[in-house]
Symmetry: C2
Subunit: 313 residues, 2 copies
Amino acid sequence: MKIYVDGPFKKRHQQYLRNALPEEDFTFKTEIEKPEDQLKTLLEADILLGNPKPADVLQKAMNLKWVQLHSTGFDIYQGIRIPAMVTNMKDYYAQPCAETVIAGIMSLYRGMDRFTLLKEQHQWLGYSVRSGLRLLRHKRVIILGAGSIGKHIHKILQVFDCDVRFFARSAKEEVLRTPEQLLEAIPSADIIIGCLPGTEQTRGLFTTRMIHAMHSDAIFCNVGRGNLLEDENELVAALKEGKIGGAVLDVSAKEPLPADHPLWDCPNTVLSQHTGGGNKTEIEGILDFFLINFRRFKSGQPLLNMIQLEKGY
Amino acid sequence: MKIYVDGPFKKRHQQYLRNALPEEDFTFKTEIEKPEDQLKTLLEADILLGNPKPADVLQKAMNLKWVQLHSTGFDIYQGIRIPAMVTNMKDYYAQPCAETVIAGIMSLYRGMDRFTLLKEQHQWLGYSVRSGLRLLRHKRVIILGAGSIGKHIHKILQVFDCDVRFFARSAKEEVLRTPEQLLEAIPSADIIIGCLPGTEQTRGLFTTRMIHAMHSDAIFCNVGRGNLLEDENELVAALKEGKIGGAVLDVSAKEPLPADHPLWDCPNTVLSQHTGGGNKTEIEGILDFFLINFRRFKSGQPLLNMIQLEKGY
């Protein structure tokens, strides 16, 4: 079968796939020089592993039988209609994303961001930092989104005896269901964590009024999509004026952040540069999942992690 | 009763104590100018709240009926014999210390230390950091010491599905009991966390041979006492030469670290400046505990957190 691969894979990953499936006809985008030849190969392929850009090239690939995305989110392909089955990485990134959010919050609470800078300066402050430290234990948290990332974060927060509420359309856990209920709950939250997918319903969902409803020690986190905020400039202002306690942002409206972006200069802010899903063996895990699904595809078994592109989440 | 107070308490804390116990005769060390007058007041007091220095002034305080230390550790008073009952803060610092160690480890694993420096430079690296990130999940951990800090760390690590072993003289948990067993276990550990008190038995317990037995991605942490290492210079060398993966040090042999200390320049190292026990309301918590014990003292009930200075732990 003709398999076209378009993703952040290195030479050793190409070798790994070819060794694993020596009978199959792999072509890697990085092996083809001209964009028009890349497109031609994609259109002739039976299977696609990866996330081609721009998104609408996928719309033309009517020959594809199966698309394995290397991401969980697929909002950029929303609305695309192709006959192929499409699968994603579902909850593959949930644990790393949860760990990054917890690491970011604890970095602020336990002073790790300050200690990193003090270490650069060889400066011992000790007690004056100590008296400002906070504990994660017993914090009141609102998690926006009860998908796999939200659930992983919830599981970790339980060991810190946090009081967690979800904002979600449907979930077994105790939930806030409407923006009005969310707004009402915000003043009593110490931490708010966004882990919603990017859809029309979540765009701008966290309004400026909600930022203003946060208390002065509260932390805003986002490991979902950068368009969750109605107005990111209002978050910047709240941070700079000390109206909220801090932020942990894995995503932002603009990525990569340009060097003159005001977020860089916000105090008490962790910018994790969209690495939340990262892990040393991230690519190997994707390839192994592709191989599992490929064997199911060949033998006619139902594929794992089937999605519908039209829905966009 | 005459109560002498020697600790990091501010004006508002003095007021808090005097308001809580208006009948009692409080003197705060910071209210007395001359050292000889401070000592005189201590020697006349019935009760001491705090940790006087140098340690041997306590040896002279034969009039004291009760000493409430504001620390958990009391190694500097080891061997002192006074007729007073002595109480400490026992597991008061366990949760903050555990949170600082976990924050430090996750800071290294999830790149928070690097993101802090990149933020200073307004520099977006994104993917190149992402591909080096590690997960706390499933890590193999050895905790040195099964006291309250060790147990709190263990509880948190369980939610990350870590494989934890204790090095301890006595504990219900699966344990390594001898330095030989510890040395044998070290090569398969990803994280080693020292949270032992400072005693003759723990001084230099973590030998240079043990540092050399760690694998190249392993992290050494210490939130106990700075004299745990046989030779701190060997840790510095292992970090600088990349023979181990990193370190999270709340304590060191010398504190505060002088500006020219080589630890400042060690890569992949978190130096949390002996703040592990810290928390915004740390002092208030100590005062409240003193008040609880004071009421027990007055009514002849057994005091909480009784210790024996001679033992030193």
